[in-house]
């Protein structure tokens, strides 16, 4: 299940989310979006390690991240 959903047209690759992630799951990759910004990435295997704390999304200046968690 994807807990961190990255909107590739909004991300500007500033890396603030990667700094904020307590589990260090996010990193700036080499893929570029239409505007030419490098995009933040998360390995699909790392999605399981995410605890849905949403700290990355709260520091993102471009509101490029949506966070979900499994329903209990």
């Amino acid at each position: 299940m994807k807990k961190i959903i990255i909107d590739e047209e909004f991300c500007k690759g500033c890396g603030l989310c990667a700094e904020a992630c307590p589990k260090q799951l996010l990193k700036i990759g080499s893929k570029l979006n239409k505007q030419g910004y490098p995009l933040v990435e998360i390995e699909s295997s790392d999605q399981e390690k995410c605890v849905s704390c949403a700290l990355c999304a709260r520091v993102c200046p471009d509101v490029a991240l949506k966070i979900t968690k499994p329903e209990k």
């Binding site: 500033c14 520091v59 200046p61 471009d62 509101v63 966070i67 499994p70």
Partner: protein, 252 residues
Amino acid sequence: MAPNEQTVFQRPSSLKEVPTHYCAGCHHGTVHRLVAEAIDLLDVQQQTIGIGSVGCSVLLYDYFDIDVVEAPHGRAPAVGTGVKRVHPDSVVFTYQGDGDLAAIGTAEIIHAANRGELITVIFLNNTTYGMTGGQMAPTTLPGQVTTTSPYGRDVTKEGYPIRVAELLAMLGGTAFSARVAVDTPKRVMEAGRTILKAFEMQVKKQGFAFVEVLGACPTNWGMSAIEANERVGKEMMDYFPLGVYKDITASG
């Protein structure tokens, strides 16, 4: 979204689904989101009228799904005064940068605060004029190199940075004045609560509310987004301490 999923965080509905023109790592976007969240939480999107100012945030009418009036440079509190007096049931906020509020608009903000106008002012302090190319602003730190202070700001010639939150807290008409920052997740959440309070005070008709937000300008500081974000905590907070400087609703 699958039925067994729960959303933890998503874009507030007062913020349009469009990418912003801000540089990577610029804190305007974060503050826009916090303002939109406050509007959503108070459920006042239909009554809210934003007053745009001159600076990088001049295009905020493209980003907020609310009514916006664009004010001449520095005059946002004066325009806000007019809008609020004509439409007393609306929720009026101005969104200004430091070049707008602390330089050309110093007279307007001081008198709007002193009259106790029932508006909310969001002030983003990034110690420089962002839109015009990084010139020295009244909030530029001593020694800071900008395009118009290439040897660093010399306080004997150019004076000292203005601490606007403290200045406005001294005025009788001000009901709330605080300084927050958005460089770490914890401070972003604190900033969100403070901005929400500033809007709530207007809805409850408690008086003029002012929130100064310390933010980064990576492009004009000549830094990466990460370095600029660190500078907010390392350099800016020494001169611009965070805190609530006036709150008429606080007990004790």
